[in-house]
Amino acid sequence: MQMKVARLVVAAAVLLLLFNANLSLGQSPGATLSGTVKTAAGAAIANARVSAKNQASGAIAEAQTGAAGVFTIPNLVPGDYEISVSANGFTAETTTVTITSETPPPVNIALASAQTGLSLSDLGFSPAQTQGSAQDQARLDKRSHMLKVHQRLGLITTAPLVATVLLGATAGGRRTSSTDRDLHAALGTATTGLYVATAYYAIFAPKIHGTETRGPIRWHKALAWIHGPGMILTPILGEMAFSQKSKGEKVHGLASLHGPVAIVTAGAYGAAILSVSLKW
């Protein structure tokens, strides 16, 4: 009986293995299509845009040729694709390709020049002005990404900041209860943490050389010189005030500046947000 069960188990395991193998053989989880884009004369065309559109699903994958005119589009499922190629100064081309294996044969495309006479050099533009670079674009992309995160974190920080300021009205004074004070301190800590994260993304976003700072962003940057130091001073003074209150003392000395510094800081922070949100 045990032998019979064992054989059944082995048979089931073998069937299962065969089934899985069959599945994996039938699937090509990531075919890579590569090729070249060149002129009719055989010169490589850099920065040509190549897109592969799956004609069954409509999914589009894109790539760009490098300096040698070579492109690579990974992770394509088997099927029929419409390959479209375009490049500045050339007539766009479209062809169809059927992918059946993980390494389909390369697709080599020649583009005809669209320029019958005039080119950018005829207008007096230098190659440095007319040729872009992937590195420049990557720098711009990183900058934009970091500033978007900065913007979102900055808006998120507004909530605990406002709550901290509002609770500040009941956190000090003659009240002896520590609940509001503890909550005020906790919210203040959260605000400080979020603020530091917000500032990080702004400070370390890549700078684009050769650009002059113009417009409302100047105010946004200038106000940082108020709320930045304020966000350092406020928790320090707050800690001093917290300690004094915890000892049953009235807040005095430098610690009494905690409230005014916090108000100025919050005001500058709000003005910084408004400076880039509204049109003045």
Partner: protein, 170 residues
């Protein structure tokens, strides 16, 4: 005027862009933005009655008054990789006779080419100078540009480009 134009049609000629103002318009619920460039260069070559024009401007020359916004625009339009916007068109030399032109434009921008048919331009001819003005009805989707957003609200798809140009015949 007709005699002058027919004389023009008989010989090869060139046109040079002397002055230009190109401005794009972007709409957002909180902002209406215009970015202006005076850095376009252009040339027209006329041969056997047909003229081919090429106008180009660096994408980073467009100034909306806010450098942060302009840099973001540069990034969204892939200006690091495709730093120029170009417009090509072909016109018969006699097109200038009517005072307005309907032109088919080929615009290359952000790594894509879009075609605009029958775009109306007003034309004023004074001797060897021609002043042309009009609006190209561009859309972000024409160039596969993801619409940027402010405070999570995206800008509108329409980005019409107003064109004012002064050309001189050489």
């Amino acid at each position: 005027m007709a005699t002058a134009l027919s004389l023009l049609a008989a010989t090869d000629s060139q046109w040079v862009l002397e002055q230009s103002t190109l401005s794009y318009h972007v709409s957002h619920p909180l902002h209406q933005v215009d970015g202006v460039s005076h850095a376009a260069r252009g040339k027209g070559v006329c041969h056997e009655g047909q003229c081919e024009f090429l106008i180009a401007a660096p994408v980073k020359s467009f100034d909306s008054g806010d450098s942060n916004r302009d840099l973001h625009m540069l990034q969204v339009t892939r200006g690091g990789q495709f730093p120029m916007v170009t417009v090509r068109t072909r016109l018969p030399e006699t097109a200038a006779a009517s005072g307005s032109i309907h032109a088919d434009l080929e615009v290359e921008f952000a790594g894509h080419t879009a075609h605009y048919k029958d775009v109306l331009f007003q034309l004023s001819l004074q001797g060897n100078q021609a002043k042309i003005s009009g609006t190209i009805p561009c859309k972000l989707t024409d160039f596969k540009i993801d619409p940027p957003s402010l405070l999570t609200v995206p800008i509108k798809n329409d980005i019409p480009v107003k064109v004012d140009m002064s050309w001189r015949r050489q």
